[in-house]
């Protein structure tokens, strides 16, 4: 394998390297219950922090009276906006959200005050005694009306977060076959199981150490520093165990609040949301209203596409602008379309704030364009696979922003794979668990119709539109106890996806070392960027690889001096320095002695570019990742109940660093897309969340999930380390539309909204 430094490695062992599926290093701790999640953290002398939240979607705060709360025995602090020492503002793209509401509250659940006490029950009782004088204001709750001239303003100067127009080709293009639809996607929630939690420990230097479950330590640190008015050296973040993320931990939750209480009380402060509070404590997926039109030749080949998409961003900006970017630039799917008119909007309302969730703007649009492709197929007499084979992208095609898809785009192959996978057998209706409704005994086979649906989609990997994205890794190599040990240190958040295992595998591959220690994840090393956008294996993997290469170069330079041979003739294989034919020349111990070699490298992928503000044209994205699903469903058409019988998929992952973990991510992402199609929705009425609990926000159980056949393709991206493509988001994008298509096939109903409810199927 050639490297940037021109040195060579020689592998002699095969276990646990890139391409293997070694066990995750935290697995044993997780199965014994010893793994420390943020909600498990404990500190002597700690007190509990609790948040008082607004019950109103829009109100002016006339005053806050905390005197009664302060009299509750066991309370050590009550804080409001006036107690924020730095800027009372935070936000991922714009610092438009107050740490604690000052003059206005703009969504139900917005934090207004904090209480610290010796028992969470005491803190909650005290919070109930805080008197907030609200003047309720009219709320903007329909995003389609948010841009009206007479809509109340959520923020100055108006309710538009971003408008992305996209124009390519002939705006007046016409075609003999025209199909169109309106499509609505409801508000999905990440529903990670580990509640928001953190522990803030005040430090002797006047600063604070925050242990928190999150997705990007450094962006959190930047915002906390702004709010506390402190420099980064004084605000040290440590990643605590994360119980899932899926985009829901990109924005701040307990972070500043816990630090404020800790600095005020001088005591460690633990904050942990319950499930109900969690539904108010993080952003959700943007609900979307879309109008799409395709024009095609009579043979089905696309001539033009028009799309208008409105995303409800809720009360604060979060990452809405970037989500709009994706919804616009990727919102017509992996198809060749010469003439394109797209307008994607993100708007402010007084609904719950929306932001990042796995799929990030591509999930919503996929439902629209995939439903429309099926409409087009029917209009020209092709089947759903044929229409997509006809129009699907290939390597070298230009997408709708004028960017060349310069590596594999196996749209056709992915579809053919899922089409040709064995179909499941008919359901055994003698066991009601195999029928729609399962043990609820709603059918013994009566009314059940089977349907099959297909979808193929793509996603960008990484951050886009010119964002300077990078990751940092520190790798250290030394002898310890007669054994070569590598230590890898990043700030990259492991959220369950297996990034720590990947880091070990890369070190083993590049250095030949067996034993790789993953240093605790914290801000003592430079930023690794966000655990999102399916980017960590690529970017942090790239940083770890580059740091290993730098370590190797230093080691071999020393070995060259030691052996009086050119470094270019040497290789590093764990504890051995080897020659051109793999012969062992000396030991690492001889070259290093007691010294350690340590290198810290910042890694960047090739740059992306902003898109033209009028036409949306530009090479906006780093990489594309393609996936296809085939869904088979049984629908009780009289009751509108659905059982997914099979959810099979094929996905190009470039290079499967850890094949088992890749498949695990594909399973999980498929479940989340299926959940959105069938059952998951945060129901908001007049700005109020109607179902903030697992009783009525339903995610799939093991009895809802089908078996899944998974085929992984590995068409390398030549620009990426080991050729990897991001894995986590594509399965969340192609799964839902396939399920929706299958239900349409079974019922004959158009079904233009997800999640699909029984009422939509029965028409009652």
């Amino acid at each position: 394998m050639s490297t940037d430094t021109g040195t060579r490695i020689t592998a002699t062992t095969t276990a646990g390297r890139v391409g293997d599926s070694p066990l995750r290093p935290d697995g044993t701790l997780k199965v014994t219950g010893e793994f420390a999640y943020a909600s498990d953290l404990w500190h002597d002398d700690m007190v509990w922090g609790v948040t008082l939240r607004s019950p109103h979607p829009h109100a002016r705060i006339r005053g806050i009276d905390i005197t009664e709360a302060l009299t509750v025995a066991g309370v050590t602090a009550v804080l409001t906006a006036d107690d924020v020492p730095g800027e009372n503002a935070f936000g991922l793209e714009h610092a438009d959200q107050p740490v604690l509401a000052a003059e206005f509250v703009r969504y139900e659940g917005e934090p207004v005050a904090l209480v610290a006490a010796d028992h969470p029950e005491t803190a909650r009782r005290a919070a109930q005694r805080i008197r907030v004088d609200y003047e309720v204001l009219p709320a903007v709750t329909d995003p389609r009306r948010a841009m009206d001239d007479d809509a109340p303003a959520v923020h100055r100067p108006g309710n538009l977060v971003r408008h992305l127009p996209l124009r390519r080709g002939n705006p007046a293009a016409r075609a003999p076959v025209v199909v169109s639809l309106d499509f609505e996607v409801g508000m999905q929630d990440q529903a990670f199981l580990g509640p928001e939690s953190g522990l803030a420990v005040p430090a002797e230097d006047g600063g604070v150490d925050l242990y928190v479950a999150t997705q990007w330590l450094h962006v959190d640190q930047r915002q906390i520093c702004l709010a506390l008015g402190m420099p980064p050296e004084k605000v040290r973040l440590h990643l605590a165990g994360v119980g899932g993320a899926f985009g829901g931990r990109e924005d701040l939750s307990v972070h500043v609040h816990a630090c404020l209480l800790a600095l005020r009380t001088g005591r460690p402060v633990k904050m942990s949301y319950g499930r109900e509070e969690s539904f108010f404590g993080h952003v959700h997926r943007h609900p979307a209203w879309m109008t799409y039109e395709f024009g095609a030749e009579r043979d089905g080949s696309l001539v033009y596409a028009r799309a208008r998409t409105v995303l409800d961003g809720g009360a604060y900006a979060s990452s809405t602008a970037a989500v709009v970017g994706n919804a616009g630039t990727l919102g017509l799917g992996p198809y060749r379309i010469p003439n394109v008119t797209v307008d994607a909007y993100g708007v402010f309302t007084n609904n719950p704030p929306c932001g990042a969730m796995r799929g990030f703007g591509c999930v919503q649009t996929a439902f629209a364009y995939e439903a429309l492709m099926d409409e087009l197929a029917a209009a020209v007499g092709l089947d759903p696979v044929e229409i997509r084979l006809l129009n699907g992208m290939r390597e070298g095609d230009t997408n709708i922003t004028g960017q060349v898809v310069d590596s594999a785009a196996p749209v056709a192959e992915l579809l053919q794979i899922v089409r040709d996978m064995p179909m499941p057998p008919p359901a055994d209706t003698s066991d009601i668990r195999a029928c729609p409704g399962a043990v609820c005994n709603t059918t013994h086979g009566e009314g059940v119709v089977r349907g099959v649906g297909y979808s193929v989609t793509y996603k960008n990997v990484g951050f886009s539109e010119g964002f300077d994205d990078f990751s940092t890794a520190r790798v250290r190599l030394e002898m310890a106890g007669g054994e070569a040990v590598a230590t890898v240190h990043t700030a990259a958040a492991e959220v369950g996806q297996g990034l720590i295992t990947v880091q070990q595998q890369i070190c083993r591959t590049e250095l030949g070392v067996e034993r790789v220690v993953v240093h605790p994840t914290n801000t003592a090393v430079g930023s690794s960027g966000s655990t999102s956008a399916s980017r960590q294996t690529y970017v942090t993997g790239g940083a770890v690889k580059a740091a290993c290469e730098a370590v190797r170069a230093v080691v071999l330079a020393r070995a060259a001096l030691f052996l009086e041979r050119p470094a270019a003739e040497l290789g590093l294989d764990g504890e051995k320095i080897v020659g051109a034919s793999g012969e062992v020349l000396t030991g690492l111990a001889e070259v290093l002695g007691d010294d350690a070699v340590e290198e810290t490298v910042e890694y960047r992928h090739r740059p992306t570019h902003a898109v033209d503000p009028e036409t949306g044209q530009g090479a906006a994205h780093v990489q594309f990742a393609f996936s296809a699903h085939r869904a088979v469903v049984d629908v009780d058409v009289e009751l509108g109940l659905v059982k997914v019988i099979a959810l099979d998929t094929a996905q190009d992952v470039g290079k499967a660093i850890n094949p088992d973990a890749v498949v695990g991510q594909i399973h999980g992402g498929s479940a989340q897309g299926m959940g959105l199609a069938l059952m998951e929705e945060i129901v908001v009425t007049d700005g109020h969340v109607r179902n903030p609990s697992f009783t009525d926000y339903l995610i799939p159980t093991i009895l809802d999930m089908p078996s899944m056949q998974v085929k992984v393709l590995e068409y390398a991206d030549p620009h990426a380390p080991y050729g990897v493509r991001g894995v986590g988001e594509p399965p969340t994008i192609s799964s839902g539309p396939a399920v929706a298509a299958a239900i349409r096939a079974a019922t004959g109903k158009p079904l233009r909204r997800v999640p699909i409810r029984p009422e939509h199927i029965t028409g009652t």
């Binding site: 005994n441 013994h444 009289e638 509108g640 009525d696 093991i702 029965t762 009652t764």
Partner: protein
Amino acid sequence: MDFLQPTSWADALAVCAERPDAVAIAGGTDVMVDLNFDRRRPGALLDLGRVADLREWTAEDGWVRLGAGVPYARIIDDLGAELPGLAMASRTVGSPQIRIRGTVGGNLGSASPAGDAHPPLLAAGAVVEVASAARGARRIPVAEFYTGVKRNALAPDELIAAVLVPTAAGPQQFCKVGTRNAMVIAVSAFACALHPDRRAVGTGIGSAAPTPRRAPEAEEFLAGELESAGLWDSRGALPETLARAFGERVAAAASPIDDVRGSAAYRRHSLSVMARRAATWAWSDLRKAA
């Protein structure tokens, strides 16, 4: 908050009388949710978990006396033959963990219109036995036990001792619509019981009215039509039109609302489908038994 843990039924009744601010808790699957979520702060918890009598069931004279503290899991395992409708409903409650702790007594105590035990109790014609220290035991037909949304006929000093359920004389069915295939609160639910000994039909509707309720006109209609067609004797096939007409009458007996789980129109529609199917299955089982 006090924690009171009597070890006999007499003690439990005495405590209940002395502490009107106490909330009874057995399996805890409803009460603990309210406590965990800060919705209720009673002056005391009256734990019935150590009153052994409540966890027993006995069969006597064509009835099953089901102690209020018998968990759903035991009803499923032990009473599938005697109380098939209730056993089927028990299997749909929550999750395996919930079924090990949750009880019919708790379902009755909460009196939620969505409680899974209510429709089969109504269809079977069960009787709830309650007691107080001051006045002793009294029995309330289950249809009279539900007095409003999440309200029941218990006096403040009464506890639920048992529910007496007639041993099934004929086939029973239970169906529940939920928007997921497990661990789901009923959007609507229906139970029916055939009583061939009396040539009667029992029904129970759940989640489609302020309280669980029967569909008396549908019951009379079906029983009467079966009689006039001689089907109780001949055990001939149940005409599809009759099953459909029964379903429509069951739906007409409901008073559903729109809420976050479903619309009133869907609830009515789903009841007509469930009732049609349940009657068909129950009648088919009756024919096979002949």
